[in-house]
Structures are given as C-alpha cells and as structure tokens.
C-alpha cells in the first residue's frame, strides 16, 4: 500500500525540474555575485579585486544618472500606469454596457511584444508622418513637433511612454477585480452616513483595495527597473547617454567591452536596488491603513 510519506520515487519527479532550474537560473545568478569581485574579461584568467568594481561603478557618473533615470521612470509608472488604471477602475466599477469590451480592449496592448510595440511607436513618433506630430499640428501646437527619439531632451520620456501605455490595462484588470470584491454593504453604509463620491473613494474604496494597490505599485517599480528592451530597441541608451538605464549600461559592459567582472558588479547593484526599493515600498505602504 502506498502512502503520502516520502518515497525514493518522488525524487525522480523533481529531479528534471530542479536540474534545469539550478543549472540555468540559480547557477548564473550565484556566478554573477562571485565574478563581481573579479576583473574577468570573459576569456583569460582573472584575479580578485575585492570591492573595487563596486566603487568604480558608483563613481561613474553615467551609471549614477542611469540609476536616477529608473527612479524617475518608477515614479512616472506609479503615477501614470497605476494612477490611470485606478481612475478607470473606479469609474467603470459599476456595471455598464460595453464594460466587457473595454476591459478586453484595455488589456490588449499588454500582450503585445515590446519589439512590435516599438515598431508601432517608431512610426507614430516619425518626425514627418507620425501620428504624434500630425496631432500636434492639427490642434495648432505644431511648434512642439520634433524628432522625439533623436532629441536628447525627449528621447528617454518618449521611450518610456510605450511600456507605460502598455501596462495601464494590466493594472486596470487587477484593480478592477479588487474593486468588484468590495462588499456592496460598505457603500450602502456609507450612503447612510452621507458620503459624496470623493469621500466615498477616500474612505471606502481606497482602504478596501489598498493591499492590491500596494502590489500594483511594487510591480510598477519592478517593471521600471527591469524593462530595458524598449530603451535597447528604440535608442540603445542614446543619443549620447541621454536615455541610458542600468540594464543597457550592463549590456554594453558585458557584450561591447567584455568587462564581465565590472558588468557583474553593476548587475548586483541593480539587483540590490530593486530588492531594497520594492521591500521598503511594500513595508512602508502596507502599514498605511493597518490601523483601521
């Protein structure tokens, strides 16, 4: 007779998965941490250099600006991705004709690949025939029209508008589901107490979906720190270093300069910043409504 206790055969069920996971995922991660302390060029032998890679990365003004840029990106992501999604979810939470279609339409951009989206926006940002400039000229703001991607003051923002645009539907779906779960009694109790739409939002809706909102904000920060394929495809960090982010910086160190030790240090720093920022956000914001 069998049992749900451990038996040797169970190991066979886990072995293929664990092998693939450890060899191709965990091992390169540990290797990155280890090689960040060396001056490896990817080919010849290396020597340990202690923490000197880390101090070199930190003293590079290009990397520091790149770090600053992803924090701006994170802030804009929270405001525009999560903010727009929250607003839409709040407006559309009551049943209305066409809500299902809107949900499907809003979510559509999210499942499209970054490279297809970049191609679409390449045509949209075109200096002459692009939709953006045509629109500006049509409403009489033609003086603002420009080559968005080759202008160093707009390149970074033009690129990050693409993932921001794509992710609104994603956060909408999450927040919409969260709002559907708020019991109707709460709103009715609020009506008896005489709420207006604004106080209803602030006192009932917001506290109820707060845990979901914190998850969304954490995901938005994470996305801003990691989604570098848009920058890579659209500007490759340029013009100059005007749209450089830590991940494109790392890529260039690894694959253009073969600085595997130095690049690993930049990678470890980005990993640490991501982990620290998201856990601080989670802890800090998570506590906001706990007293209720």
């Amino acid at each position: 007779m069998g049992s749900l206790k451990f038996q040797k055969r169970v190991v066979l069920f886990m072995l293929p998965c664990l092998a693939v996971y450890f060899v191709f995922f965990i091992f390169p991660f540990l290797q990155t941490a280890a090689y960040s302390l060396t001056d490896w060029d990817g080919l010849t032998s290396f020597s340990f250099v202690g923490l000197s890679n880390f101090s070199k990365v930190f003293s590079d003004v290009i990397y520091r600006q790149a770090i600053g840029r992803i924090f701006i990106w994170a802030l804009l992501s929270i405001l525009l991705k999560v903010g727009t999604a929250l607003l839409l979810a709040y407006v559309l939470r009551k049943p209305a004709r066409g809500a299902g279609f809107t949900k499907a339409a809003l979510f559509l951009p999210y499942i499209i690949s970054s490279s297809a989206m970049c191609l679409i926006f390449t045509v949209m940002y075109d200096g002459d025939a692009g939709l953006v400039n045509s629109f500006l000229r049509a409403i009489g703001l033609g003086s603002l029209a420009r080559y968005w991607l080759s202008d160093s003051s707009t390149a970074f923002f033009a690129v990050i508008m693409i993932p921001i645009y794509q992710a609104v539907g994603y956060f909408f779906v999450i927040l919409y589901a969260g709002m559907k779960d708020i019991p109707e009694d709460l709103f009715e109790a609020g009506k008896i107490d005489g709420t207006n739409p604004l106080s209803e939002f602030a006192r009932i809706t917001l506290p109820s979906i707060w845990p979901t909102l914190v998850v969304c904000i954490t995901l938005a920060i994470n996305g801003a720190f990691q989604d570098f394929d848009y920058i890579f495809i659209m500007t490759y960090g340029g013009p100059g270093h005007a749209s450089e982010v830590p991940a494109t910086y790392m890529y260039k160190e690894f694959f253009d300069h073969h600085a595997f030790g130095y690049g690993s240090a930049a990678a470890v720093i980005l990993f640490a910043i991501t982990l620290i920022s998201t856990s601080i956000t989670r802890k800090g914001l998570g506590a906001a409504f706990r007293t209720e």
Binding site: G2, L4, F24, S114, V123, L131, V173, V215, M250, A267
Partner: protein, 275 residues
C-alpha cells in the same frame, strides 16, 4: 431617470475613450500595412484607400520573416511543453507528498521570482557558451524553461494544495502509485492551473526580446521579436512594410487572445496578486 443621465453619459465617454486609445495604435498600423509609404507620408486615413497586399507580398518575398516566424513557433511550443511537464511533475511531488525538504525546496524555487533575468544576462551567455549551447535552439529553450519555473511552480503548487487530502488518500486505498496519482487524480484536478501556466509561458516566451537577442546571434535561429527589431533598421524608410511586419508578428497572439481572452486576463491578474 433624468438624474442618472449625467454620470451614465460620463461613464460611456470614459469607456469609449479608453477603448479607442487602447486600440488606435494597432488599428492605425493595420490600416498603414495596406498603404504605400507615399500614401502614409501624405495623409492620415481612418480606412486604407484599398486593400492592397503589396506590402505583405514584398516582406514575405524579400525578408526572412517566414523563417523567424517558424523559429518563434518551435521555440515557444517547446518551452510551453517543457515548462508544463517539468512544473507539473515537480509541483506534484512538492504538494502531494509530505517530507522534510518539501517546504525548503519550494521556498528556494519561489524565491527565484525575485531574481530578475537582467541580473544574470552576462553569466548566462558565458554558461551557454561553455556548454556549447550558444546560438542553438535547445540552449534557449532550456533557458526560457528555467526562467519560467519559479512562477509556474508557485502557481501550480497553490492549485494542487487546494485538492483535498481525502481524495488522494482514497486513491491510495485503491492502490494508486505516484505515477497513476499524478495522471489520473492530481493533473486533471489542477488543469486550470496548468492552463494558466502554459498561457503565461506562451505570452512570455513569444514576446521575449532580450534572451533571443543575446543568445541567438546567428540569424538562422532568430525569433520573430528580434527579427522585427532588425527590420526597424532595414525598412526604416518604408512605413508600410514596417506596419505589415508588425501585423504578421501579432497574428498568433491576437488569435490566442480572441479565443482565450477571459482565461488570459484572469490568469495574468491572479498571478500578479498571488505573486
């Protein structure tokens, strides 16, 4: 009735604006894919002048688009099967049998959700180079599989743990071995979880750009996403052909979305909240 009209109209307007804004870029690209570059440069049209498939014909004749498309299908299909099989067997062992290290192994795997793949790009490249898997299909398929494992096992074990122990114990009484237990009890009862895992893998792998670019330097194995980004350089002057390329790349995702919309939306939303 009259009192309700204003908020109702406002809501309708929001619905309409949101839908139009979400679909406009894709729709505009579809329209442009039927127009010549000169037509696109000269005027904005809501409908193409006529249904001209010239752009499609020329990208299929000149470019390696069909090869890239096939590569994407093979890579994504293999990764889906491998992720499904490995995550299913491993989650089964971790969630059904009670043993000392089950919790620890589960924790170590799930912790991988917090390791972004950008962190490991340099060393993964070196690893595949050492194993002689660089530029090969098995190499990138194994890499995608390992990258999807943390989230997949996290989701699948959650589904499997919700199967009552009584059902599994009844199966034991009937003399079910581990293999029969997986095939006839646990797998059928967690098929929704498996479907979500496969859908997420499909979207993630089909749309991936970074790994395909780093690990497949030769163009013969290149996937569609990287191919598309290359076209951005090649056809930079022809917006019509660029648009046609985009539409071809979107077709599989759009067909999947059309049929599995609710499963996709709910799957992605629930994986986010649980994660």
């Amino acid at each position: 009735m009259a009192k309700l009209t204003f908020p109702k109209i406002g809501r309708m307007l929001v619905l309409l604006t949101a839908s139009v804004a979400s679909m406009l870029p894709i729709y505009w690209t579809l329209v442009n894919s039927f127009r010549s570059n000169t037509q696109i440069m000269n005027s904005f049209r809501l409908f193409p002048e006529n249904l001209d498939f010239k752009n499609y014909a020329s990208i299929f004749a000149v470019s390696s688009l069909p090869t890239y498309f096939l590569n994407s299908c093979i890579t994504t299909g293999s990764a889906m099967i491998l992720v499904g099989a490995l995550a299913l067997t491993c989650s089964f062992a971790l969630s059904t049998y009670k043993f000392k290290f089950a919790k620890l192994i589960h924790l170590i795997i799930v912790a991988g959700i917090f390791i972004p793949s950008t962190t490991t790009m340099g060393m993964t490249y070196k690893l595949l180079q050492t194993l002689n898997l660089l530029g090969s299909r098995p190499g990138i398929i194994l890499l995608y599989t390992s990258g999807r494992m943390a989230l997949s096992i996290f989701l699948l074990t959650a589904y499997m743990k919700s199967i009552p122990d009584a059902i599994k114990e009844a199966a034991l009484m009937d003399g079910c071995g581990p293999w029969r237990m997986l095939v006839s009890i646990v797998a059928p009862l967690s098929r929704n979880g498996l479907l979500v895992v496969m859908i997420l893998t499909f979207i993630g792998v089909w749309n991936d750009y970074i790994w395909s670019m780093i690990l497949l330097p030769s163009s013969s194995k290149r996937t569609l996403t990287v191919g598309l980004a290359f076209f951005r350089g090649e056809f930079f002057t022809d917006n019509g052909q660029l648009s046609a390329c985009v539409i071809v790349g979107l077709v599989p995702i759009l067909i999947g979305y059309l049929f599995l919309q609710d499963k996709i939306i709910n799957g992605i939303a629930s994986s986010a909240v649980k994660g």
